[in-house]
Symmetry: C2
Subunit: 215 residues, 2 copies
DNA sequence: GTCAAATATATTGTATACAATAATTGAATG
DNA sequence: CATTCAATTATTGTATACAATATATTTGAC
């Protein structure tokens, strides 16, 4: 089918899953969705395949597709993997960073500082996302970059919650400084470990993540 | 459609792509495939979606799906990412490795040694694959493990070629020993860097990889 | 002979009918 | 009243007909 339409539908469904319209284990009923979207089952089925491929839903033969929300263990694993991907990007970026890249990163970091002063978590979130994406890009490996972007996207909702925790913003900001310095120096190991620690869910953050799941 | 059938067809097509039956840029004709597999277009289309999702093919709206073979740059990037994923697995495995895991790893390594003595690249390939998979598993992170397995699978064909290079087997074997020792000691950094270097395409290996693409 | 427009053909995308299988309900039996 | 089996219903999977769009071919003008 027309991929664009399928992706559009898939995207809407994705939003529905993330926003909680659909809960873990819910069956995504083909005929209901077909009437809702005013299309036949065919495009719906293709959209569902997209969700399944991205891991947001699970398909059981002859039974249907069911939404699959990540549980605590899944999230821990995903954050741990994200930390390692970020570390990898940092490692590579340390030796491949251009002056322009450093400028972009510095700018993104300034935006973070602004948001911190404004005590605006949403603004900080956006600036922070950019900061990290600049690093993915600076790694000079589009495959790795894509992997990082995909996982970042999946963790979006949960990271957002974390930044609302008191004191987290300023701590995050300090860590950014360390990261930026390491990249300026071209110190691969330091950049990698600074990013790993920055992203990792450990100590206080662990309990906060768990608490955020109870809603 | 029945996912199992779709995946079966997708798998066959995948083989076709890897074995060179389909070349880069070839259009995967729905009706031809439908008659070949003796099914209607519907299951074929779902199988094609699977290929697209895995990145082995590209879908252009209203035009069709075309096989997308990785070029030199793609491969370099994928191997570099693989190296980082393996390093990540090694880092985590270093602190989480069980006695049983060490036994499995040791056994897998012994099988590698056997294959080396037999000068049998195919046998070495299989044993080597197991060796690495034990490490993915020992990382204790099923999400990361899956990422590693997926990429390992994509690179399968190219890694195979590399092992046929003279002297590569014994070098690989030595590197395994270093990796095994680091994991025994629980030295995360050493395990990570040993694995990174083991997998990375650098020096001689670069030219060999490039040469293998010319067929 | 070349270029452009129009027509024909091929191919993808969508809807729908039918088939196969799973879930549910209800009746019969102990 | 519980349990099991049969029949009904619902739902997924497949085939196919039709619609929309892109590609190829032909025809005509210059």
């Amino acid at each position: 089918m027309d991929v664009r339409r399928a992706n559009q539908i898939a995207n809407t469904l994705e939003q529905g899953v993330l926003s909680g319209d659909y809960r873990d284990g819910d069956r995504l009923d083909e005929v209901k969705l077909a009437t809702q979207f005013e299309v036949s089952r065919t495009p719906i089925r293709e959209a569902l395949q997209v969700l399944v491929a991205s891991g947001m839903a699970e398909q059981i033969p002859r039974r249907g597709v069911f939404v699959r929300q990540p549980g605590p263990v899944d999230l821990i694993e995903m954050f741990e993997t994200m930390a390692e991907l970020e570390a990898a990007c940092g490692r590579l970026a340390a030796s491949r960073m251009t002056d322009q890249g450093l400028d972009e990163l510095s700018t993104a970091n300034d935006h973070c500082a602004q948001a911190l002063r404004a005590e605006n978590p949403d603004q900080y979130y956006a600036a922070n996302e950019t900061f990290h994406r600049v690093i993915y890009s600076a790694a000079g490996n589009s495959f790795l970059q894509n992997q990082a972007l995909q996982l970042q996207n999946k963790l979006k909702a949960y990271r957002r919650i974390q930044l609302r925790v008191r004191g987290r913003l300023s701590q995050s900001m300090e860590e950014h400084t360390t990261i930026l310095e390491a990249l300026r120096k071209g110190d691969a190991d330091q950049a990698a470990s600074a990013l790993r620690n920055h992203v990792a869910v450990q100590g206080e953050k662990f309990g906060q993540l768990m608490a955020s799941l109870k809603r």
